[in-house]
Symmetry: D4
Subunit: 251 residues, 8 copies
């Protein structure tokens, strides 16, 4: 119900001034004390609920998930979940599924329908896979088809070039790379599709926990490359979904 | 002409081994000594040519533009062009147009057709306008409609909230902000469309030439926010175009 | 007029649904294209208007000031105004006053009444005076009495200790220091009043444009010290006013 | 006894030159070898004693607490106390109370009377709660009433806006946020009360242990925002108390 | 087989268009899902295979090694291998040899023939030895003779000067130093041979995990000094080999 | 007159309580508004007055100098004085002497007697000379004999080694170096005298305005090396004097 | 004359003890006061003299050059020479040649004979050319043949791939790149020759004056890449020469 | 035996050319493979041997100590020794003494005679004591008398001022402080003796492992303050000894 509808109801005396005032306060949220759960968000934002579990206790994480499920959320994605936290959750939520690489927990009671279009997730090396999986799981959970293209870093350029058809077939590309942030530039130069670059903290020395790849990607000479936070696979998967949804109907 | 077509021509003896070898070298580029101009790029990347003029002399900038125009490029965008450089260019290329705020030069002999969809460009303050204009001009040059929403920073939240309908009407949003990198987070929380955040070097002290806004945007708690380099209005406009093009046909 | 009042008017049919919807959009702002001037802010925030002039052209600065004065703002403070900008402004706004040290322009057609309480502005050295003056002018403009205590840095501790009575007499203290960020710690240890520390970019070498004093002040071992951005005299004066207003009625 | 009183006593021969010289040395402190305990501070600074326990051994922490209690301090707050340290202390000081979230130990044998006014402690997310609790416990220990408003980060703006009345009711506001340092700016724009911003080290990647939120808050475009060190809940609570005390008598 | 050879074969109908298209995709690689193993690299790059084991699971590391050995690689070097990982590998690959200092695993079924020329590996202190050993083992594995000169830091200059003949006898020098990045400058001033500087993370405080030595070496006033990443012994050994191979035939 | 003497005078009724209270406030300083001039400092600190002129206007600098001379200071050193400022000063203070390299102004009406002992000032390169001269002039002004040893950087070690006798003859050594911060380490290893290292901002690229040399010197592996701020020649000269004065009587 | 020869002369009474002691002090240097010119270096290091002119006055630069020429140096390279400095020099040294791009001055009265082998200098963009020219001029001055390959950055990969034969033909490669530090990685993956990476300060925003490209190159995933300081074209050219000289005789 | 003595012996045919050449190589060192032990250093540098144990294995540490003792060193100081390493050492070297706070091991078979003069070691807080003890133990081991003044940070200035006589009595002062790097400035302003500042990594948040105190101390506005590396208690103690030795004979 939008503002004008509420005001019309008031004018028609279907609701009182106090009720209108309350309804105009924007949100049907649930305050758990330690977290304000937002039941309207799925409607408002067009996507299921996501919980960032790092820094939350297992009790808090479970509490939020249960509150959501009890209030009508069918699909939940929790990221950065340790195995121990998952086991605590799974004892109560039997259909919670764990992805060990991505460290995600998903509950899918009413899976999102698959959108057309393909999101390609590429990595520079083997060590970047956990971050890439977080991106891939997120994109799949939100209803996208994902193509994984791992270990195609620019130091061995032929590994990427010999698979160029898969780059060309994608609608959105997520480039995940640590030491070799250059992957995003190279892919960005080979395609006109949006490229979301994810720097990872893989590497050592002057990599400074991902600063090196972050700066490299921000300074990419290839147009069309945008960047998310270091190791932020979720953010990349989420934005890739937003972009793909925009473009979905045309295919 | 793709690889297989070239090889088939060779098999059919329509071309020689040397010709095929040459054609397989990917690019019909023109080497000016100081720059390799890429005439195939419009076809390959689906967009007209762009020149980043900073660090190039006025002679080099003009030289590249003339070479392009002589080789069939109709539309050129040059960014980071000082007024003095523009005047040097305009003496020879009469239809070059200068945008003083954005510091761009455009030649549009065959303007790109407008795509459906709207790209909203928002700024936190008045001082962020030059970067925003670079983004807006870029997006318009590439064939997009742009809505400008300036000076709506989060310190006076009502300025943004009272214009929320324009945020909702947009397909892609570019949030440009210096001191108050928070603009991207707030917009990201109000929409499910992709938000491209552009940190600017506006500010002083611990802003450290844009580092503050850059970090703030990278750490945005709103999903769906991606970031480009500090002051990189062009990159934001370019990627917004890529995203909008993906989604264009559905409207 | 608050939300309930608007809704009651609607219920009483004194206004239409559309009028109510408009009024509920929070702000009577004026959009100048390059700036959204906020005429309700004086009421909402309890203080006159302030313009941060850096990064705005002289035309924009004057435009905003004139728009304010025409819409009922009596008192305006503009900070970071170059002498050249001031002269441009003064040609049209005859009663605009310039403070050369602080680089501020003030228009005071209806000066704010003086609050009780004293705000002490102390500096470590002579070179910190411009920043201190920005703080002092701001605090005075907002209706506070200011005591200036300059060049009392900790390397000559007796300079401060012999004036301790002035520290004790103050209600809020602003400690401005560059090389010697230590001033805030020492004052913080001598008083139980709030101390607002302003790091300045004065110094050289490993001062790194104020980073040294900023970190020093943030790490102050004295409780009760809070920090604003490097060289942000305005912010310190503004917050000192907020604090002093809270405490004013008791004196 | 102040300087003049001591000198008058000397002039009246009530004390000797040596005694006067000793009394003029400012402090009745107690040197434990590893710490100089300051028994006059409660009088001088108007507040009970606080111990920062990090980096002190459990023996040292207990030793300081016992020395204080034996010398007339009734109320003690120790911060950054691990559970193990607390248990060591509680074995000897039976009325020591532990707050597990805030990691504080309090002894309150003569609780400070409650001041008028409310200190609001707000957090961006659930993970910021430990720092917020340190601030809240500190403020309460020093005699203030505290309102907690947790998990109202700007990515879901309605969570904050629908509770705006609690922001308006507060006299001093503490805004605690990690990833989303933007909370301080948004609150600062909605109120004219002093806002103390506490960046937290919550987040990952380019958050760089709180640097991101720290810089974001220092660069806040909202006037009236001051900042304390990363994770420094104590400092925020302590200064909020100083400010609230200034304003207390007016209510 | 190079491009022209492939095209000639096609023209001669020795291969089909599809076969040619496939062959022109550059590489006979093997995709293990988590890693793309590059069997052509030994030929292309002139050196045996190297695996960077950090960030790879023990299963992945073993998997890559076995795939290589099964596909004709005789000599493998794996770096950054923990003892536990080695033991897992050694259970299946019996002739895998572990170097505890360097944390390397080598399989040498067909050792590379020794090149002429000497690579000198020098360290500033005892604590730099692990990084130096990684460099030395790498250089030896690739077929070079190595001279080790450890603990000759510049604080005791005579330790280096009294061994100056060994510096003079070397063809390429690797200078490994932590606190005392100065070693590279001093050696660089004493010889006209290429000096590869390896900063190490040895040290404390303002060493900032090797940043100090890195910057020191990058700013070396001695010409002829080049730098690799912090602790990157492998990179130094690898490049020293490339350089030595260039010069080998002349001796 | 120390505290006990003042108290005794009071007890003897030679002074009043008010006079004693005033005298106990430590300092006979002169407040010029923009600067607090400290006339007691020469006595208290054992050295003539020094003015850091950077950030002070020429009027302020001259004002302070004149006030000092009028109040009995015979010898003044002003550092970081531009030629323009000097000329302004010299118009009124005829015996002010300018050193163009060091950018110092000295007035010596009663030159300090020369102490025994030698302070050696060494530089890595020619470009470090201005900083070295600031150190040398300071040390000479304070009454020390100075030996200059310029352009003896470690990249050409023999330049230093062939002058080792001058290093051995010195009592305190100041090592000034930019790119090659290594100079301090090498000298520190050759002598047991105190070495004061002065990093300079000479260099480019990853020198980052002296950060490189600063970190290098702080991490010196040579014991006995202490560091002052980047380009802080004055500080080095001043401390060298303190040290030399301690040791002077023995020679 | 080496140590043993000197000692033998002494034993044979051809020289005195004092003469021998003097000769054993390593260097026949000439002390100009502001610079120690090293006449033995050409012999010792095998290369002509180089002067780094930045930070030296024009008088000092000319003074050093003249001293060298008068003492038998035939070939001089001065780097970082402004046009104004050059003109001052050329007035006295008529055969001094200026390279405007590289900002170098060369005097070649007895040009070094050309070594076999090719040094390839590649740049990512047009703006990197000045640094590349400094490298190229240095390498040529020292007797190498240089191949220039400019504007082949990775965003348009075909520009590099279509010239791959020139990469393959080189013996040493210098990769100069600003925004796109990735160039070194890509080249490093395509060749087994040593690659010297030169980060440039070209770019803006988060490039932070070359830090971005520096870190990117240090973290290159391609083996065989070594790095010099930001914008240090000279260092790259100098080391490329050392490496090429090692390998020269084999061709 | 110095150079001239060796040459004279050669001239007198007391030694051969080869013997002379060997003797002229400067050092009677002992190469243990992992460390070059320097038996001449005590003579050359005037102080006993010191071992920095961090980064050395317990076997290496013991090995170096035993080699020293067997070759005539009577007094050894090892720093950064863990308890476990100490126990390993003590099993063989029975008279090795452990200081748990300072983490030092000392062997003193022929204690150095006490020098006149006092080295004062002051700390800001209790948590700085371990670093202070490293400084104090080092200074005592080298033959100095040490006065400890702990927990006198500037937030409670009277704690320091009431002990000012002990500051005045010292000949060299070591100021150790973490959060409150201001201690060095305040002491520096109260005395004309050399002050060696030791930043510690004590603190949290924006302290960044000691960076805050380091920068604060480097930027001290008090003349006469020099700085050593973060947590480098040893370096401070060592240099304090050098300085005190210079001044010792005068007392």
């Amino acid at each position: 119900m939008n503002t004008k509808e509420i005001l019309t109801k008031l004018q028609n005396n279907e609701i009182s001034v106090d009720e209108a005032a309350n309804m105009l306060k924007l949100a049907p949220t649930k305050d758990l004390g330690y977290a304000v759960v937002d039941h309207q968000r799925a409607m408002r934002n067009g996507c299921p609920e996501v919980i960032y579990a790092e820094g939350k206790t297992k009790e808090q994480t479970l509490g939020i998930m249960k509150n959501m499920l009890e209030n009508g959320t069918d699909n939940i994605l929790a990221t950065r979940v340790s195995l121990e936290k998952y086991e605590y959750i799974a004892a109560e939520i039997k259909d919670a599924v764990y992805n060990k690489d991505a460290k995600t927990v998903t509950v899918e009671r009413n899976p999102v329908e698959k959108t057309g279009g393909i999101i390609l997730v590429a990595t520079g090396g083997t060590s970047d896979i956990p971050v890439a999986e977080e991106a891939a799981v997120t994109a799949e959970f939100l209803g996208n088809r994902v193509d994984r293209l791992y270990d195609v870093g620019v130091a061995g350029l032929h590994r990427l070039l010999s698979r160029i058809d898969r780059v060309e077939a994608a609608d959105v590309i997520i480039a995940v790379a640590g030491m070799e942030g250059a992957l995003a530039s190279v892919i960005g130069g080979l395609t006109d599709k949006p490229v979301i670059a994810v720097p990872t903290s893989v590497g050592y020395g002057a990599n400074f926990n991902g600063l090196s790849s972050l700066l490299c990607m921000l300074n990419s000479c290839a147009s069309g490359v945008v960047v998310v936070n270091i190791d932020n696979g979720f953010g990349a998967g989420y934005t890739a979904n937003s972009i793909n949804k925009l473009g979905a109907s045309k295919r």
